[in-house]
Amino acid sequence: METLEKPALTQEEQFQARIDADVRIEPKDWMPDAYRKTLIRQISQHAHSELVGMLPEGNWITRAPSLKRKSILLSKVQDEAGHGLYLYSAAETLGASRDQMLADLHSGKAKYSSIFNYPTLSWADMGCVGWLVDGAAILNQVPLCRTSYGPYARAMVRVCKEESFHQRQGFEVMQTLCEGAPAQKEMAQEALNRWWWPTLMMFGPKDSESPNTEQSMKWRIKRFTNDELRQKFVDMMVPQAEFLGLTVPDPALKWNEERKAYDFGEVNWEEFWQVVKGNGLCNADRLQARVQAHEEGAWVREAANAHAAKRKAREGVGA
């Protein structure tokens, strides 16, 4: 006798079917171990990047050129701390522990965005960090608002809402410098020269050398490949640089009428991998500053715990 019943789907197939139907995955839902691991790695790296990302800008808070710029920079750095916290709590819904994630960052086991291992040498670097680095971050982050894991997507919605101010204030810093004295414009150009290529590296290795991309796209954790986003970024930024009257430091950069996109030169991948491996200009400084802040805050964490325990005990007696 013929039966109409389809063979039962495995748990993994059911999971993929939900992903394909664009149903969000929530913390208590069944998920493949590899999906969970990939997400914990990606979300915690993202959170670490926000924390470490405060350091290059923190460098300029006390030396911002005006009270207005100082207030803006403080707000931006505070947002970054907030973004880190949204993301850590998203990772915790997958079973990762906050202490363990921080321990992995501090031991050098966990990675964070390599861009923050470059130094911020002049005030114009604050402009470039906002305009270019946050611009690149936005391109990465906007598609993540639709990523398949619910808590990550919701955290990214929050982040994206706040990130747009970061980019605009950076552009404004650049514009002010470019409209200023020749020396100020030169400072802006120098900063662009230093930040352009590292920013292109932020999108990660070439698709052909990014082994995780295919699976991440299948799980809809990622929605675009590294190369697609890099191209988008170049196409978006070149006209903005032209508006500022700045020259993008890439002799191979050329509009391709056929592709309706810019052709651009090859990223220095040797440098990229060196920085990823920990040999960038500031890797050691950044980690040292993180570890120091964490260790010097230990007594505060302990004191708050002791205070809470004492209060609990007192309330217990009173009841």
């Binding site: 915790e92 706040e162 715990n305």
Partner: protein, 95 residues
């Protein structure tokens, strides 16, 4: 090893007077007072809220997603609970 980790709290924010509190995320804090202060700094930097609730995450009990189908099933076949189930003659007004 986890001794230093502060407990986890879930944060709920009322965005505007008259609306209900909505879950926005979580954070670590040593006690409720600190959780509310941290929630203000983490989740309301741009006037996103006029009121905050925090509750320790261990106190939240949730339905089991694996049972969701059977659990919510009783409501699935009761279309007569919706007003659109009923035909109202065109001449009848205010219904």
């Amino acid at each position: 090893m986890n001794q230093s980790e502060w407990p986890l709290w879930e944060v709920f924010i009322r965005s505007k007077q008259g609306l209900d509190h909505k879950h926005v995320g979580s954070l670590h804090a040593a006690d409720a007072t600190m959780a509310i202060q941290n929630a203000r700094d983490v989740y309301t930097r741009r006037l996103e809220g006029v009121s905050i609730w925090v509750v320790e995450s261990t106190h939240i009990h949730a339905s089991n997603p694996d049972d969701a189908e059977a659990f919510f099933d009783p409501a699935a076949d009761k279309v007569y609970r919706h007003p659109t189930f009923y035909d109202v003659p065109d001449s009848i007004k205010h219904m």
